[in-house]
């Protein structure tokens, strides 16, 4: 792996006002097409790291560079724009908007970005739903979907604007093993076939082994960072 990294953290530290350190001196570079699993015990700062990499939070010290550009001092609205166009989030909880159908949920980021309109936007959203086996469920409300379907719908929404990097925080935490394996199948496809990068936080060691690289955190510090598979 070479070339300019998609995303790079340089000695990034996140410290709360009260002095609690969530993430300490983390330096790592994410190349296009990488499938990275982040593991570590509970409270080791995995989520905190993910929020930093996802531009949802800012480092107290150090830098987070997206495509070679330091983001730490960008105004909030610009960070939001970067999240909208280049990043995709998946959380343990699906966070679908309950009043909107599966299709409308996937359409929200597309419409906000405004690059695709009308039928084109709809086609893109329907294509994503179909890719995740939700073609027949597009007009269902989240409450009418099963847990696995909701999570797949949430992944479809994260992919809506064709992001280069997907950040997933225990996306399989609420799923049974079959559905969990299904989500990782999707992640494998997205990295191998579509060249996207994925950072996924997981507690499941066997799922973590399916990634191409595994980062272990302990007390906010990276204790190991190894390529695998």
């Amino acid at each position: 792996m070479s070339g300019p990294p998609l995303l790079e953290a340089r000695a990034a530290t996140r410290q709360l006002a009260e002095g609690v350190v969530l993430v300490r001196d983390v330096s790592l570079a994410i190349q296009p097409g990488e499938f990275i699993a982040v593991t570590g015990p509970s409270g080791s700062g995995k989520s905190s790291l993910l929020y930093l990499l996802g531009l949802l939070d800012r480092p107290s010290r150090g830098e987070v560079m997206l495509e070679g550009r330091d983001t730490a001092r960008l105004p909030a609205a610009e960070l939001a724009g970067l999240r909208l166009a280049k990043l995709g989030f998946v959380f343990q909880f699906h966070f679908l908007l309950p009043e909107f159908t599966a299709l409308d949920n996937v359409l929200i980021p597309i419409r906000r970005l405004g690059r695709l309109h009308g039928a084109a936007a709809r086609d893109r959203a329907m294509g994503l739903l179909a890719a995740f086996g939700l073609a027949d469920a597009w007009q269902k409300l989240p409450e009418q979907l099963s847990g696995g379907m909701r999570q797949r719908c949430a992944i479809a929404r994260a992919l809506a604007n064709d992001p280069a990097l997907i950040l997933a925080d225990e996306p399989t935490g609420n799923l049974d093993s079959a559905n969990a394996a299904g989500v990782f199948d999707i992640f494998e496809r997205l990295t191998r076939e579509e060249g996207r990068s994925i950072v996924v936080v997981t507690h499941d060691a066997s799922l973590a082994r399916r990634a191409t690289r595994q980062i272990r955190l302990m007390d906010g510090v990276v204790v190991s960072d190894q390529a695998q598979g």
Binding site: S47, A77, A80, L84, A85, E99
Partner: protein
């Protein structure tokens, strides 16, 4: 923007009942405003036209607002001397050079002027004495400044010229004297002069005070009776454009020096009452809208709290603080718009309902019903108020929503 509207709709429909309650509140405020404004403005407009119709637009009096400058003050213009309690000199009262002033006024575009002499007199018929204000006038000029001709129920203004000492009485005054058309009464002036006068006409204005206490005669006759030859104590002015009354009155006063009052100044009492009426109307509607605004504030706040997760996810998806703020402002404005629209319809219905009301008694307007003013601007004003109230009510919760830190929410929910 369409997206924000869709999101707003989704969030509001969740709280449909609560939303409808606050929308109804706004609607009631708007409707009451429209209906009361229709009644009040209808009445006030009628009243003002009535005043403009009946009374002279400008009255020039034989007084000055301030005592004439005294010699001592003229000698020390810098204020070294202060003169108190100036006693008016015993000069002949009346407007000086009245004829010349009338001519100057008449020369102005859209201005008609008429000199009159008003004097107290005692009218005696048989054994009855009634005191009345006798106005001496020149029929040809007076007709152009007054609508008294419209109120004549017997005889005409010119009939004053037909007999030597003609007099026109208010209908109620004639009743009190027990006199009829063609009869002759005695008019006694405070100076003691007595004139025999023949009743040549009767009028009814509908205003009691005028009908039972006023009489008209020729200017010359009134001057003879009052023993004030060639004296005029008022010049009545009527304008083609009433709105010019006040500025023109000020202009006349500064030019002639005589106290000059526009109809607005003469009716200041009533106009002040109108101001108070309007203030009450505005505060009552304001209070209703305030309560309704609290309702909206309540709904939006509840939605913000309920939708914490959705707000967090929208922000993580890339919605800016501005987007989120707008999203909730839009909800308030939508509620305000619905309330305004509903209120306009309701208000229009209320006005039509009021239009059907008939009073058992005759109102001053004589129609026995509400005088309603249907002005589109009132609807616009009420809707604007409603929108502003709704927008203001949603600003605070909208700001709170926009400041929400998605990291905190996502952490808590995970």
């Amino acid at each position: 923007m369409r997206l924000l509207l869709d999101l707003a709709r989704g969030m509001l429909t969740r709280r449909l009942r609560q939303t409808l309650v606050s929308v109804t509140g706004i609607a009631l405020g708007v409707a009451f405003f429209i209906a009361t404004a229709a009644i009040m403005r209808g009445f006030q407009t009628y009243f003002v036209t009535q005043i403009i119709d009946v009374s002279p637009h400008i009255t020039i009096k034989d007084e000055t607002r301030r005592p004439a400058a005294q010699a001592a003050e003229l000698a020390h213009p810098d204020g070294a001397v202060l003169v108190h309690g100036v006693k008016p000199r015993d000069r002949v009262r009346g407007i000086r050079n009245a004829g010349q002033k009338v001519a100057i006024l008449e020369a102005m575009e859209g201005v008609a002027a008429a000199p009159v002499l008003q004097a107290q007199s005692l009218l005696r018929y048989g054994s009855r004495d009634v005191s009345a204000v006798l106005t001496g006038l020149e029929p040809e000029r007076h007709r152009r400044v007054s609508n008294i001709e419209k109120d004549m129920i017997a005889g005409r203004l010119e009939d004053l010229r037909r007999s030597a000492n003609g007099i026109i009485l208010g209908e109620a005054l004639a009743w009190r004297l027990g006199i009829g058309l063609g009869d002759t009464l005695s008019a006694v002036a405070p100076s003691g002069t007595v004139l025999s006068m023949k009743v040549v006409g009767l009028f009814r204005t509908g205003i009691q005070a005028v009908d039972q206490g006023h009489a008209f005669a020729l200017l010359k006759v009134a001057q003879v009776l009052a023993d004030r030859p060639n004296v005029v104590n008022q010049i009545l002015v009527r304008l083609a454009d009433v709105t010019q009354a006040e500025p023109l009155a000020r202009q006349i006063e500064s030019r002639f020096g005589d106290r000059t009052e526009s109809w607005e100044e003469q009716s200041a009492n009533i106009l002040t009452v109108f101001v108070i009426q309007n203030a009450i109307m505005f505060s009552v509607t304001g209070a209703i809208l305030l309560v309704a605004a609290f309702g909206i504030y309540n709904v939006i706040s509840t939605v913000v709290i309920e939708k914490t997760r959705d707000i967090a996810i929208l922000k993580s998806l890339g919605f800016t603080e501005g987007d989120i703020q707008l999203l909730f402002l839009v909800q308030g404005i939508v509620a305000g718009l619905m309330g305004a629209a509903l209120g306009c319809v309701l208000g229009a219905l209320m006005i039509e309902g009021l239009a059907l009301v008939r009073f058992g008694v005759q109102t001053p307007s004589g129609q026995g019903q509400f005088l309603l003013d249907r002005d589109v601007r009132v609807y616009l004003l009420a809707s604007l108020f409603a929108l502003i109230a709704a927008a203001l009510a949603s600003v605070i919760p909208a700001r709170r929503a926009s400041r929400l830190d998605p990291v905190q929410v996502v952490r808590g929910a995970a």
